[in-house]
């Protein structure tokens, strides 16, 4: 059975277009609710997606295949919990050695301990530089590359040599155009010779990763003591065995800490996805609330369409009568009004998407968040149009279709 002929569809579109053209203001006002709803939903989806991409990019320096053994978890949501964590024992160099001896699934293991100091070269000085004490494997676990010179060797670590690798920012501020390799700088009261400069790494949440100076952890301990808890960084052989690696590390750490069967872990094994999870759980709520607001706006907009379509049916009662007298079947009349309501809804959705694109462009240029209206948002738009148009147009359209031709022709 054939439901619609093309000429009927063309007639429906023509009628809709003309009806809306002669009621421009009314049409625009009717679409207001729809387009606000579309803007809210598309902008929110796009901004949150952009934020996700941004956060993911920002924390990617942590490495998807590296886990971090430390005293506390990275994400603490509760103050009581935090107080419990502060009672935990430090992670020490012994643990690092222990893990290094027993781990089998690792590609590399490093440790990290950090503080902030002023770094001086001649008369130039730079405050608040992150001083990181680590081992030679830091290069692998943290994916850092010495752009000039080299990283330190195991023997430089073992023999506690005062060597350092400086970050890109430290190099460019203290040395400008000069070659820093072989030069001596002062970190606090201690003198170090520069053996390498790191490649530029950029910022994380506005914090520079280039404002740092890396020294052997053995030297760090000699100068700053060993009272700080350190972090052991373990890179998996490949990303697929991350879970197995974590299990292995938990076993090793429990052994190192001599924990009994019933005792809880008194250390934390952190990874990048943990931050992502926390972040996602926060945005999830935001997402649901705002999508809810957007949906309410769409429903209100849809009711607006229904209202205006009812007015339109009444206004055009006589026209409906004429069309029926000339042989228009009920479904043809129904189709005509459905096309019209979908048309109104399409105008709202189109304006909404265009405005969303504008907002996305503004957000993109004003913030570091990469907001894009993706293609599927357009498909979503079409789906909205059809759904709202049909759902809220159905009642007025069927009312029009059921009109009695005799009554309709008599209508003034």
């Amino acid at each position: 059975m054939k439901f619609f002929s093309w000429s009927e569809i063309a007639e429906g579109l023509g009628i809709a277009f003309q009806a809306l053209k002669s009621n421009r203001l009314r049409t625009i006002l009717t679409t207001l609710g729809i387009f606000i709803g579309v803007v809210v939903i598309t902008v929110i989806i796009s901004v949150i997606q952009g934020l996700n991409a941004y956060v993911k990019g920002e924390i990617s320096f942590l490495g998807a295949d590296t886990v971090y053994i430390s005293r506390m978890p990275w994400t603490i949501t509760d103050y009581e919990e935090y107080l419990e964590y502060t009672k935990r024992k430090r992670i020490t160099e012994d643990h690092y050695e222990f893990v290094k001896r027993y781990a089998t699934l690792d590609e590399a293991i490093s440790l990290e301990i950090a503080t902030r100091r002023t770094v001086k070269y001649g008369s130039e000085s730079l405050d608040d530089v992150i001083i990181t004490g680590t081992s030679e494997d830091y290069v692998t676990t943290q994916n850092v590359v010495a752009e000039y010179g080299r990283f330190f060797t195991p023997s430089e670590v073992n023999f506690r040599k005062n060597v350092c690798v400086i970050g890109y920012e430290v190099a460019s501020i203290l040395f400008e155009d000069r070659d820093p390799i072989g030069e001596r700088i002062k970190i606090g009261a201690n003198t170090f010779s520069i053996i390498g400069v790191l490649e530029e790494r950029g910022q994380v949440f506005g914090q520079s990763l280039d404002n740092m100076t890396i020294i052997p952890y053995s030297v760090f301990e000699k100068i700053y003591g060993n009272r700080r808890s350190l972090e052991v960084q373990v890179k998996a052989r490949n990303p697929d065995i991350l879970e197995e690696l974590i299990d292995e590390l938990i076993g090793i750490m429990r052994r190192a800490r001599s924990l009994g069967a019933g005792e809880p872990n008194d250390f934390s094994i952190n990874q990048q996805s943990e931050i992502m999870d926390l972040y996602n759980s926060i945005t999830q709520i935001l997402y649901i609330v705002l999508i809810g607001i957007g949906s309410i706006s769409l429903v209100v907009g849809g009711i607006g369409i229904m209202n205006i379509m009812l007015v339109s049916v009444t206004e055009r009662t006589r026209e409906i009568g004429i069309r029926k007298a000339l042989g228009a079947k009920n479904r043809v009349i129904m189709w005509q009004f459905l096309v019209e309501s979908m048309f109104v809804s399409a105008i709202g959705v189109t304006i909404g998407i265009l405005i969303s694109m504008g907002i996305a462009m503004i957000v993109r240029s004003a913030t570091p968040i990469p907001v894009n209206i993706s293609l599927w948002v357009l498909f979503l738009g079409i789906a909205f149009t059809v759904t709202i148009g049909i759902f809220f147009g159905l009642y007025p359209a069927s009312k029009a279709a059921r009109l009695d031709p005799v009554e309709a022709l008599r209508y003034e």
Binding site: S5, S7, I322, K324, A325, L326, G327, A328, L409
Partner: protein, 225 residues
């Protein structure tokens, strides 16, 4: 026989009261006849015309149009019959105000799925018959009353229907324009069309060959003009 009405009854419920608009009408009309239906207001001529035009179905009785049993058809079947068999000409023209004359004439063809090119050709031919080919791109408000009624006649003719049903076609026109319209009707009749004219004006009815007079929902007289 083109039209065969047997025992047609039409009742309306007005509030609690039942109104007999038509009671037992028996009527036969042959192909090619030119019939006028007359009667004072309230005589049931509008009701009869709605039933003849398949806009409404009778409460009781049998209506056969071209041997098809119309009285028991559903909405969509009636729409198809109206489209194929009946050309309406109304007192108030009933053109779509925003559509051009051509589009108005094309409408019945749109609803029976005639292809666009053929549709246009047929509509133009029909407008030519009523002498309005040069006005086909005008909208109703750009046409005079007589021209509008001629567009309506072109629309009624376009599908080559069995009956042309004219309901007070001159009621909204001055005498001279009315006469023009009646001349067109006569020409159509001469060309072999069946015409049913509803009117309350004696001099208009006189154009026909047969006058059926209604009173109180019944046929009072049925005679040659």
């Amino acid at each position: 026989m083109l039209i065969d009405l047997k025992g047609i009854v039409k009742d309306y419920q007005v509030g609690l009261e039942k109104v007999h608009a038509l009671c037992t009408i028996d009527l036969q009309i042959n192909k090619g006849e030119y019939v006028a239906i007359m009667g004072p207001s309230g005589s049931g001529k509008s009701t009869l015309m709605n039933i003849l035009g398949c806009l409404d179905t009778p409460t009781a009785g049998i209506y056969k149009l071209n041997n098809a049993q119309v009285s028991t058809m559903n909405d969509d079947e009636l729409a198809e019959i109206r489209n194929r068999e009946i050309g309406f000409v109304f007192q108030t023209f009933n053109l779509l105000p925003r559509a051009t004359a051509l589009h108005n004439v094309e409408l019945p063809l749109i609803y029976n799925g005639t292809p666009a090119a053929q549709r246009r050709e047929m509509a133009e031919k029909s407008l030519e018959k009523v002498g309005l080919k040069d006005r086909m791109n005008h909208r109703p408000n750009e046409l005079s009353g007589g021209q509008r009624q001629r567009v309506a006649i072109a629309r009624a003719l376009v599908n080559n229907p069995s009956i042309i049903l004219a309901d007070e076609p001159t009621g909204n026109l001055d005498t001279r324009t009315g006469d023009e319209i009646m001349e067109i009707c006569e020409d159509l009749h001469d060309a072999g069309n069946t015409i049913i004219l509803v009117t309350h004006e004696e001099y208009i009815a006189e154009h026909s060959d047969r006058i059926i007079r209604l009173r109180d929902g019944m046929v009072e007289r049925d005679e040659a003009a």
